[in-house]
């Protein structure tokens, strides 16, 4: 019966639209690589599919009254909660299938690229599916109460927008800085709250006496959830370095190592042997090494947006060549352009031309002297290098 309810209801359309939204969230229009397992799962969690699921559930649940089925259903033996449960399950199937289709593609990519899997990375996926369950249950309740599906949908989506403002799923997003992983305790509480919430909503929609127990239980869980301030814990393993020769990324970004290596290694080779020049590339912005920052890569593992990676090259050398003690933008630009070969303005071109008038050996000496003066913040020495 579930498959019939799914196929003949809003299920297939919901699957397609949810899949499209999650796909856009995860891969974007440019088919970017989704990142680590946790990043991917979190992207799925944050896809705005709740209004869609809710709308489909309202539509499906209001169908009985729309189609004048009350008398036939009112004389049937099957308990109302089983009937509502079937409607709910068909919507959950529709939403979950849409998510699963896209996650399936992501899994293939993540496995193929050996992306980093943080402990408990799967929690956001669990919460996503349970969230679909809760949204569907709310939609079923509204659909049963309101015989006019359009009004139910409008009210529900409006309530979603209002209630989501600074609350709901947004509170469950990970912090922006550092490496974090889902904390099992709070995430179990989220799962429990959503599960009991589903039970409460379905029993309410069915006027089942279990609602007397389920609704207060759901409210108590929600109160505990509201008091929870942190849903994430630090993941020290994610920050560990994974290196190829002298080029390193964090473990969380290990899927970018090949690409970073291809860009950073020639830069390191160019300055090899110059006194004071960095010999490593790592995710550190102290200036002692090339600064390996986060990178969006595509399905083929290459960097997105800028195939020649000029910006990324400049980012890598930025902390090494940028003056921190005095304004020497012109010198900094010349050093960056000489090192990376990337020129972005006529001023930089002119500065580079002055350096390139020197012999190759003198150019290397000039660069070493520049780094030395920069570290000492020696204004006179820097001025002499102009």
């Amino acid at each position: 019966m579930l498959l019939t309810e799914y196929r003949r209801g809003a299920g297939p359309l919901l699957t397609l639209t949810v899949a499209a939204l999650v796909w856009l969230r995860l891969f974007g229009l440019v088919l970017r690589f989704p990142g680590s397992w946790l990043d991917s799962a979190t992207e799925v969690l944050t896809a705005p599919i709740a209004p869609l699921v809710f709308t489909a559930a309202v539509w499906q649940a209001s169908r009985e009254r729309r189609r004048d089925m009350d008398d036939q259903l009112g004389s049937s033996a099957r308990a109302a909660w089983r009937r509502r449960g079937l409607t709910w399950a068909s919507i959950v199937l529709g939403g979950a299938l849409g998510v699963a289709l896209v996650v399936g593609v992501a899994v293939v990519l993540l496995v193929a690229r050996g992306a980093y899997a943080a402990p408990g990375w799967w929690w956001p996926l669990i919460i996503t599916v349970l969230g679909i369950g809760a949204d569907a249950a709310l939609g079923v309740l509204v659909g049963v109460v309101f015989p006019w599906p359009l009004l139910g949908i409008v009210l529900g989506v409006a309530a979603y927008v209002v209630l989501s403002e600074g609350r709901g799923p947004f509170r469950w997003w990970p912090p922006f800085d550092g490496y974090w992983t889902p904390d099992a305790g709070p995430h179990s509480l989220i799962a429990l709250t959503l599960g009991i919430g589903v039970l409460a909503l379905i029993t309410l929609a069915s006027r089942h006496r279990m609602a007397l127990l389920a609704v207060p239980s759901a409210l108590v869980c929600q109160m505990f959830l509201d008091d929870t301030t942190s849903f994430w814990r630090v993941d020290p393993r994610a920050g560990e370095l994974v290196c190829r020769e002298s080029v390193c990324t964090s473990r969380a970004s290990v899927h970018t190592l090949d690409t970073v290596f291809a860009i950073a290694k020639p830069l390191l080779d160019k300055v090899a042997g110059i006194p004071g020049a960095p010999t490593t590339a790592a995710p550190s912005n102290t200036g002692a090494s090339l600064w390996v920052t986060g990178m969006h890569t595509g399905w083929d593992g290459k960097q997105l947006f800028e195939p020649e990676s000029p910006r990324y090259k400049r980012l890598l050398v930025q902390t090494v060549v940028t003056a921190r003690c005095a304004a020497h933008d012109e010198l900094s630009a010349a050093a960056s352009a000489w090192w990376t070969g990337v020129v972005s303005s006529p001023q930089e071109q002119a500065a580079l031309a002055r350096v390139e008038r020197l012999s190759p050996e003198a150019q290397r000496t000039w660069f070493g002297d520049y780094l030395s003066a920069l570290r000492r913040c020696d204004a006179a020495a820097l001025a002499a290098l102009r």
């Binding site: 189609r67 036939q72 009112g74 004389s75």
Partner: protein
């Protein structure tokens, strides 16, 4: 022993009393429920189908007074009901729709597929079983309604205006089906078509203004007819005579 019994049954919508102390009994056979518009036929059928609970009086179906949830559920497994306003999901196929009702009536999983096929065959829709309901004519939809009502082989079958929309040939087939089911079960069919009653029913119940006017066989109804009364057929004259006599007395 009658499968359905009502005793001083009362029911109303807000302040308006529609059923006023009805005492009736229905045993094995096909019972025609007759009455003018507004007599309370549909309301009575809804009560017999356990959709509405009586305000007072007792209703016993298949020996159960419907006082407990378990008893109600057990009875609902054993009754079939085609309401006057038959609702359906247009995207479902005939088979899916009947299967849905078999599930709702808790037909055991092992028997479900056979029960669905048999119900569809009995209403003559075997060749349209995989067609969507939205592609069927009004008469065919009515037959789907009958199929969903009989899919659980009900011991009590309640049909509210079942022949509305059926063509003469379909109505004759339907009467055969009624007689077949009514051999071992209790069938109560509410209708305006008196000739259907005369042709297919073993008993007739006539109600007016929520009260019982007549309960007997079609022959007894015909016998009660005044030859001078309005009506083209003997059964119509019986119907009119009994109704007028009741109204004159009350």
């Amino acid at each position: 022993m009658p499968q359905v019994k009502t005793h001083k049954l009362v029911f109303g919508y807000r302040r308006r009393q529609v059923i006023k102390g009805l005492t009736l009994s229905f045993g094995t056979g096909v019972h025609g429920l007759l009455g003018p518009n507004g007599a309370g036929k549909t309301t009575l059928m809804r009560m017999l189908a356990t959709v509405n609970r009586p305000d007072s009086g007792t209703l016993t179906v298949l020996g159960d007074p419907l006082s407990s949830e378990a008893g109600l559920r057990s009875v609902r497994r054993r009754i079939g009901y085609l309401p006057q306003a038959f609702g359906f999901y247009p995207r479902f196929t005939v088979r899916e729709f009947v299967e849905y009702f078999a599930w709702l009536k808790e037909v055991p999983r092992g028997r479900l597929s056979d029960a669905v096929d048999r119900a569809i065959e009995r209403v003559g829709l075997g060749e349209r079983a995989d067609d969507r309901l939205k592609t069927l004519s009004g008469g065919m939809l009515r037959r789907v309604g009958i199929a969903q009502a009989i899919v659980n082989d009900p011991e009590v079958l309640l049909l509210d205006e079942p022949t509305a929309g059926l063509d003469p040939e379909q109505r004759m087939d339907f009467r055969v089906l009624l007689r077949d089911i009514g051999r071992d079960n209790c069938v109560i069919t509410s209708t305006h078509l008196i000739e259907d009653v005369a042709a297919a029913c073993t008993a007739v119940t006539l109600i007016d203004s929520g009260q019982s006017v007549f309960q007997g066989t079609p022959a007894q109804l015909i016998a009660a007819g005044d030859p001078d009364c309005d009506g083209d057929t003997p059964v119509e004259r019986g119907y009119t005579s009994v109704l007028r006599a009741f109204r004159a007395a009350s």
